[in-house]
């Protein structure tokens, strides 16, 4: 089919052809005409105008009342034309915004990026997937040459851009801490004061901070109202909830955090997560905690990174490939 020219002559010919033959071919051409009109941002009232002019040329004797009725139609369509043009311009703007947000999301990724450490004694698997473009979950690893691995997992209330901005603040506060090993309770205490001072009253952050000492295989941790993690006993094949009290960051400046220590046996795992994992929904049904643990257990023989990848794939599929909340899962396993 040759490309159509969007002019009066062309339209008139098509119209004439159709009136004569009532042919599907002409109607198909009309469809092409309308598509091309849209591409060239021609508004509906303009097409009606071309129609009126064509009719006048084909039927110079056209009755006056037909002419008037067509003018009436034209008048009626003007506002639709405007609405259409506005719609077009809003669509362009939306695309602009989208690309701006994706630039911001990439920046955030770079800013908050953390390197998963490769340590002989302890194997690490980590995955964090945002529900929307920007991630309100955050995890961070710090490994020092003395053999301690610090792990932070945090969740900002809400999703999207505000959560992401808030997370960047946490990241920079943590970067400003001294290089030396710091106790989890101290880290949470000072972050709490930062958040309490700087963040809107309805915003809060939950965080779990753990220190894995690869020399004596102890895990020292504190929690600021974060979703409880799990300790997996390989021998019994059982999970134990790491349920520790602690108030969310940013509610009360005086809060202090208690610190706990756990000895980690060979082959055992520590599972840290955010509520995007435990609050998965299948349709209207919530997924029970046991289901999450069963899924983790079913992959327990795989390398740590593969476990987290498989668990994510499982729940992604279960939720119809549309996450409702940011999803972060970290697994540590003592290897030697």
């Amino acid at each position: 089919m040759s490309t159509l020219k969007l002019d009066l002559e062309n339209y008139k010919e098509l119209l004439q052809e159709y009136i004569r033959s009532k042919d599907e071919q002409a109607l198909y051409q009309a469809e092409q005409f309308s598509k091309q009109s849209m591409q060239q941002k021609i508004s509906p009232d303009e097409i009606i105008n071309i129609h009126i002019q064509s009719l006048q040329e084909i039927y110079p004797e056209m009755p006056e009342y037909i002419q008037s009725s067509l003018n009436f139609l034209l008048e009626t369509m003007i506002s639709y034309g405007l609405a259409y043009q506005e719609h077009q311009s809003l669509r362009e703007k939306q695309l602009e915004l989208k690309s701006e947000i994706s630039v911001a999301a990439n920046m955030q990724k770079t800013l908050l990026s953390t390197v998963k450490p490769e340590i002989e004694e302890v194997e690490v698997g980590a995955l964090s997937v945002p529900a929307k473009q920007m991630n309100g979950d955050y995890h961070h690893f710090v490994y020092d040459e003395k053999g301690t691995l610090g792990i932070a997992v945090a969740d900002v209330i809400g999703k999207g851009v505000p959560a992401a901005l808030c997370m960047s603040m946490i990241k920079y506060s943590m970067d400003s801490f001294p290089e030396m090993r710091m106790d989890p309770s101290v880290i949470l205490g000072s972050l709490n004061r930062v958040v309490e001072r700087n963040v809107d009253s309805s915003m809060f952050i939950t965080m779990f901070y753990g220190l894995y000492d690869s020399r004596d295989h102890t895990f020292t941790y504190s929690s600021a109202g974060h979703e409880p993690g799990f300790y997996y006993h390989k021998d019994q094949g059982e999970f134990e909830e790491i349920d520790v009290p602690g108030l969310v960051l940013g509610v009360s400046a005086e809060t202090t955090y208690t610190q706990y220590v756990k000895e980690v046996e060979k082959g055992d795992m520590i599972v840290l997560l955010t509520d995007g994992v435990t609050e998965c929904r299948q349709g209207e049904r919530f997924i029970e905690q046991e289901e999450v643990l069963d899924v983790i257990k079913s992959y327990a023989d795989l390398p740590a990174q593969e476990i987290v990848d498989q668990v994510y794939k499982h729940f992604e599929r279960l939720q119809g490939f549309q996450l409702r909340d940011d999803f972060t899962l970290i697994i540590l396993r003592r290897n030697v």
Binding site: D45, E46, N71, L74, E75, L82, A83, Q85, E86, L90
Partner: protein, 133 residues
């Protein structure tokens, strides 16, 4: 040839009067049916803005004649509250939600030239022009 004629806007009915006068002038200048319809729509928007937001004001028309072109200017004036954020009202989607009308961006699209002066507490003057092609 340059003359100005105005319609006072006090009640909704006056919008129709303004459209009628504007359309007559446009037809005399030589605008075709589509352009007449567009000009009338622009007048409606301007007059309705006066009626809704300022209460009273007027819409005036000028037939423009230059050496090589002819056109129509529409000037809408009121002593209403004025527009605080002109940038905002000129943004697509700002005043049109709910299908209330094309808003000022719509008027701008219908016409060839668009100029607005507004001062908070003093009023607004909008001048638009369409040239005969």
């Amino acid at each position: 040839m340059e003359f100005q004629s105005c319609v006072n806007i006090k009640k909704e009915w006056d919008i129709v009067g303004a459209r009628q006068l504007g359309r007559d002038i446009a037809r005399k200048i030589g605008f075709g049916t589509v352009d007449q319809a567009r000009i009338a729509t622009a007048i409606s928007e301007l007059a309705r803005n006066i009626y809704l937001y300022a209460g009273t004001g007027k819409v005036c028309f000028e037939a423009l004649e230059e050496i090589d072109r002819k056109g129509i200017a529409i000037i809408a004036m009121d002593d209403g509250p004025g527009i605080k954020e002109i940038g905002q009202v000129m943004e697509d989607g700002f005043s049109t939600s709910g299908g209330l009308g094309a808003g000022l961006p719509g008027v701008k699209r219908l016409m060839d030239e668009f100029d607005i002066h507004s001062e908070e507490g003093k009023g607004t003057e909008i001048r638009v022009v369409k040239w005969l092609r």
